[in-house]
Symmetry: T
Subunit: 165 residues, 12 copies
């Protein structure tokens, strides 16, 4: 089996040189974990939010779920396209995602808005770093990350706006 | 804060008696973990499958992703409806799901078809047990589980059929 | 005329034995009145709600109107299918519905959310009883009622969640 | 509480002078009851019609239900827009609607066509009076009523046409 | 060849114990023949009906065709899901369906309405028996049959209603 | 009854002379049986196919089902339009269709592709003969058959292409 | 101006020889008048029909209007394509159409069905002649006429079927 | 027959007094002829226009056809609704429409734009008169005519704008 | 150039007498400025609102933007139709609109709701005056303004309802 | 390899006799090249047209692109269906198409309209010949070509109409 | 109030450092004014264009309106996302936009095409400068501006192409 | 003519300096030929593939056709936008495309998958070079090429994945 696995290592060739491929691959794998965890946490909040604004926040969260799922797909398929096998299994996500801890149980709408705002701020910080890292390794991946950052920075504004008094 | 959390324990009342609610809640929470993990694993396979049947299996897996995501939502919202806070966070899924381990890295179409078939067989076995458990506690939940079983047993046939020579 | 009316008594035959038909018919007629009144009250609230959450609650109520109207149709057509003439006229609804009194005039969003939550709790309680009653008389009707209960218990959660502080 | 209710009396200001508002409000409230009762009666007929033309009449009635529901919404929202709280609850409808009595039980297609034709004739007569009443009080409301009359006089033709031999 | 066929006997495993699988399989195979024949007969009537109500009955029959085709698919795929090969070939249908004989040649609308009403009554009687048979063998199949019965008993009402004078 | 049936013999007059009508009628009735049997057999294969290509073949067969059903309708309605009562009942199909025997039980994807290819070749051969027969009797029917032949010869290519090694 | 008009006589060249173009042009112009008059008459009937079957016939007529309008367009544009200016003005239609006289005033559903049936029979007779005339002059036009005949002979069946007792 | 026709004179009763009904009926009948002729002429131009702007004018004319057909329906159905049988047959249109003569044969785009502009100016002049006539007889009809005038005066601007140099 | 401009003064003729055209033209021009400014202010608020109700108010404002844009188009095209060139350029709007000043910078949801409510009240007051002014000059324009008033008075209710405590 | 290629020569059998297949195959291959080149040239014009009518011609050309692409597919698939491998590669098109030379560089709208008109005239001439050639070899192919001719002769009229002064 | 406004200064935090945020903010605010003015001017032209190409230009302008409105939204929301309050009020637009003056009154199609071409050339020039300015301050904003430039440079080609003789 | 052509040389001005325009223009013209040839070759394969995976590969190829056609349009229109006349005629494509030779005749699915994979690898290599070339000449074009590369590198993965054993 080992031999077979070995020979299977690179069924997909890469348009990138080896080093660029390695760096870009790490960036994509890290972003994948963030995006998967983001949609799991947004769903968790979607189900557990309570409070006067339940209905509005419940709907708003589903927009975020859809966004995050689409980006997870884009990022994983970009990894595959450069010859990197993406790993988006539950345990890998649980171990490696950059999403801050989200407490279990019912959560007030206020807490949810704060938690989502914080999460997006943190993920955007990580995205900005990755945009820098890919500047020399793969412009195609960088362009994808810029597109994600634009959307998630917009989402951050929309969630943070709800915290203003 | 502790006090507040305490008072928040039951913002949602239940149409069920306490014991029925407890048993039904466990059944739903278990099913939720299975459904979330199922769509994560199906996506993992969707990205990592290789082989002559890549295109067909890649598309077939996305049908399963859609199915599993819909059921995860149904099950979590049923839990909320009976006053149980559902927990679908990555670490909870990683710890508690009944989905068999799915190896990382590129996987041949043959391996993927086998793995998905096994996964569905196992999840259906668990669903059957849960249908029995809810027979006395909550007919509404049982009806939901029966609907899930019908769809996933059908999926099992469609994946297993690909194993015949 | 009386004779003609008499001869018209049973233009629709029943798949049920007489006693099962009678019990099931009462259950369906009672549910019909509840569902019609539910959509009338939800519309009344839709038009009379005021307060900071006007827009969100106004829209949320229309989802409930649509749901209740669909169930009224399902229930009335099930009655017809077992040979029972359904009665959904305004005076019959006014006299026999189980929906708690809803005060006239403008109502604050808070009052509306409380009133709808109470209404759904009461209607769900009645549905649970009817599910029991039909267990021995008509599984087809029972299955329909289980489907209604699943949806309205979910609605109850969504409205009650707005009462949490 | 009484004080609070009192202070809530006019959360919505009116574009009309007090007397115009009062007259127009009565016209709209009356029309609202007619429209709600019309859709309840049309549904009642939809479920209880029998006879050779069952299928065609059954479908035709649902067009009337849709029409009447839309007008009920328009009229109630117009009332709110001029600062009048609309009342469309079942008992108010039962007491105040201008729809002629519609007998319970199964009804032949012939009887249904006759009853709907009569109902529409009566409601149109009332609408014409209301169009006159609003000529001096509110042209906006009058325009809405003219639109309703155009549609319901058209419906009347379509139902009466079925009575010709 | 015989050996190969033998080895192919069970490419699809069953979630049911052997005896439950056998009983449920027979129930599903019987229902499959009824549903296929129902849509063939409804099409036959669709093409051969004549009389004043031709147009309305012609359209009404196509609704029944669509319904029956959907159920044939559901039932056959349920059979496959429990490891039973479904048989829906023309000669099997001709030999084993429970649909009463439908005469060839042009048929008056009255005759068609009567024949379809009788057919639905007979098929519903058979469905009720099958619902009982599956109560102990497979709740998932039972739930499917209950759903079919609800729809076809509703269809029966709609066709029988046309026979009332 | 016999008398009544007799007098009903020709409710639909024909745009064709008697002999042309008779020949064209036979051609259409034969094609109708072929088309109905084709969709029954395609559905049978849809449910019973197994093998690595299950998913792709399963979907491909449903395209054929849709095509065959549409042509069955066209052909039967053309028969009616020239005053011929079409007969598409199960036993007539079982006795008179030109579709080669399709074995029961699970079938490998290879066997299915071969069987469908053979079936289409045979039906196309019969269509070509019928196109010749109608050249002198009814150009309208001939035009319809040419359209069917174009589509089914295209289907034949698509299925036969799968047999190439 | 006259000179200019003269020079404008043939802005569109023809793919046909002069004589073929002349014969085919007459055939198309005649069919155009028939199709325009058919949709005017069908609309006239749509507005003036009364009787128990008003609703069904009213809808059925609008299907015919749509069909006839589509064919009028096809035929006129075919004329233009072969260099013949089509003439579909009201007076030309009034003078040259082959549609039998349709009396003014309200008409019973029975009368309408009879009149439409007769009209379609007459138009189909004319179409058959034109199909023959174009056999030697323009196969493209003939093919268009065959397509129209297939649809209108089908319509004829559907209307005549309503005359059977 | 005469007697029967006589008795059929008024199958549809009117919401208007006799004199109002007569005046309004004439107004509607006149508008009906204008609208039918407008769509026939617009189609005639659609088929016969030539010149550099052929494609644009050809499409623009079809918008006018759709508009005019919709108004013809509205006007005819309004006539029926007030108990007046509308007459939209080709010869009645040819005799009574107010549309200026439109010459046969190919027409330059310039000529077409001029002719349509003139036609719309004339029809709008007639509409304005009819709006005055119905001011005292039927506000519902007047409202319909105002809506038509708004749309056709807008069309007039759009066609006249093309004449500016 | 001046001469050319002069000759271009009236490319569009008017259905109105000169004085009516002048008065109606002013009314329409004034309404145009109000509607354009309304959609600019609603967009301004859409981008700058902050507070707990951000998401709901953000969406609600976009409904108002769509409404106002549609009315701006209707009003400008009505002006053109009566031969008046509409002016909707930024500086004309800035100088002549009746919309109250809307402060720059981030605005709390409460402030926004208050500002939009005031704006709608003021615009509706102006609309009512214009409806009076056009009563004698152009019923078609008046009818358009009545339609706008109905919609914006409804919007006013919906925004004011959010101010109630 | 040569041997393998040899054995692959006829994976698709033909419904036609050898000689008919050869003649029909040449006709189809020739038409395929014309259709592919037509859509390449139409796209070329779409990108390079300039002049006052740019926008209109630019859009009109895309309709032609869509039409030509659809026909290329139909023709190639018909070739495959009769066992002929179609060849639509760039160099084959460049060598064998019947489309007249289209100059490179920007082209005035007038030049484009003239060039497209000429191209369509030439392609239609070739189509007419092919319709004759297939009359004895394959009616199914002939019917397809007739359909193409009808559409492209219509296109020719629409483009030529723009050349009239 | 001042204090409150002060404290409200930064409800939205920025992902950018202060200086980058300031420069990027100015770029976005400038682009916002250009985009709003572009859609106001395009609408102005849409309403005031006259000439032979009225219809085509009128439609073409609405495509530009839609494009410009979408970009205004994108740009304003990007400003908000980086913590800058966007200002799109009428007077700010009138004072600060880079759109060249567009004269009032009716304009010939030729003048309009020239004016729009000039406007797009000027706005594109400004966009190119802003793309340079954001190269060091915010790649996300730069990417947005590049997307706008691509679309507006394409629009410029399409409008300029109409000026070629 | 030469003079005219000369004067026509630059109907479209460029946002780029001359040298940048020249380099960017070559890059775009080269990419245009690649994209056109890609969709011709993908169609060629779509029609000529045979083998067990025919149906799946046939469908997969059409996705590539759609992708390549869209990019050809984007690239040609970008060339026009910078003032370069694009050339996409068959002979130019045949002479200048970078797509590897694709053999004529029927091709096994295996051969097709290999050929498409090789083609995409080669085209992606060329795209990467062009992304570098445009870095200094036109960021807008570069951004477009990056988007194409992202999509075609993804396609390459999907086709290469099918080659893994």
């Amino acid at each position: 089996m080992a031999q077979k696995t070995a020979s299977k290592k690179a069924p997909i060739t890469s348009p990138l040189a080896d080093q660029d491929r390695e760096i870009t691959g790490k960036v994509l794998q890290g972003t994948l974990l963030d995006m998967i965890d983001l949609h799991l946490v947004a769903k968790q909040a979607h189900w557990n939010v309570v409070g006067r604004l339940f209905h509005d926040v419940h709907l708003h969260l589903d927009e975020l779920v859809t966004t995050a799922r689409g980006f997870a797909d884009d990022v994983a398929e970009r990894a595959a396209a450069i010859g990197i096998s993406p790993d988006g299994r539950a345990s890998t996500v649980a171990d490696g995602s950059g999403v801050p801890k989200f407490d279990s149980n019912w959560r007030s709408d206020r807490e949810v808005v704060q938690a989502i705002t914080n999460t997006l701020a943190e993920l955007n910080r990580r995205l900005r770093e990755r945009i820098d890292e890919t500047d020399k390794t793969d412009l195609v991946t960088q362009d994808l990350l810029i597109g994600i950052a634009r959307e998630l920075e917009k989402s951050h504004w929309m969630w943070q706006a709800q915290l203003a008094e």
